[in-house]
Symmetry: C2
Subunit: 117 residues, 2 copies
């Protein structure tokens, strides 16, 4: 069973449910970033799953930005630990992934909104 | 009278109306980018006006991305003409402005959508 099947709105979840849900989407988003510039054939599926989960749970957009910042920060620390800080400018390219996610999500909300008008 | 007061949905506009509307929001978005990293006190107002126009006209999100790309491309050409290509990497920072716009717009659609549920 998909971990996203229990589809409460994020704001209606209790603290434990919120924590579990955030843990899951953060893990999914991390995988998206890791694979974003690869030719991984499962990337589109991962993105669709993530967008769908966030849309169905009606997650506030600032929370998505926060998750992105946290993961990029983790990656940055990891690069430093590995003495590869010269690659850290590459982390800025992940902004493209965030733009991609926000554009998809925004279009989904826009269409859903228009269909209810 | 604001040029945004006639609030047809973008998709319902005739070709001339679409052209005029796009010209106006492109001009507004260009001003936002130009002022984005300044302390211009009218920046917030410009952003609110732009987001509101795009939201009310229900502009497809790919069109926003297209406008962003076109303007950054214009800036890039201008920098080359002025022999300031060394500044062109700064253009990448405008992605932050696009993230900001998309996040605001997405949150607006999300809330509007939830209020109709």
């Amino acid at each position: 069973m998909s971990q996203y099947e229990i589809m409460l709105f994020f704001e209606q979840m209790n603290p434990n449910q919120k924590k579990e849900f955030l843990k899951q989407i953060k893990s999914d988003y991390r995988q998206i970033l890791i694979k974003y510039f690869s030719n991984d054939i499962t990337l589109k599926e991962k993105i669709d799953k993530f967008i769908n989960a966030v849309f169905c749970a009606n997650v506030p957009v600032p929370k998505i930005i926060e998750i992105h910042m946290e993961i990029v920060d983790e990656f940055s620390k990891q690069l430093k630990l590995e003495g590869r800080s010269d690659y850290s400018s590459l982390l800025l390219d992940y902004r493209l992934a965030l733009i991609d996610m926000l554009a998809h999500l925004c279009e989904l909300y826009r269409r859903s909104n228009a269909s209810k008008s």
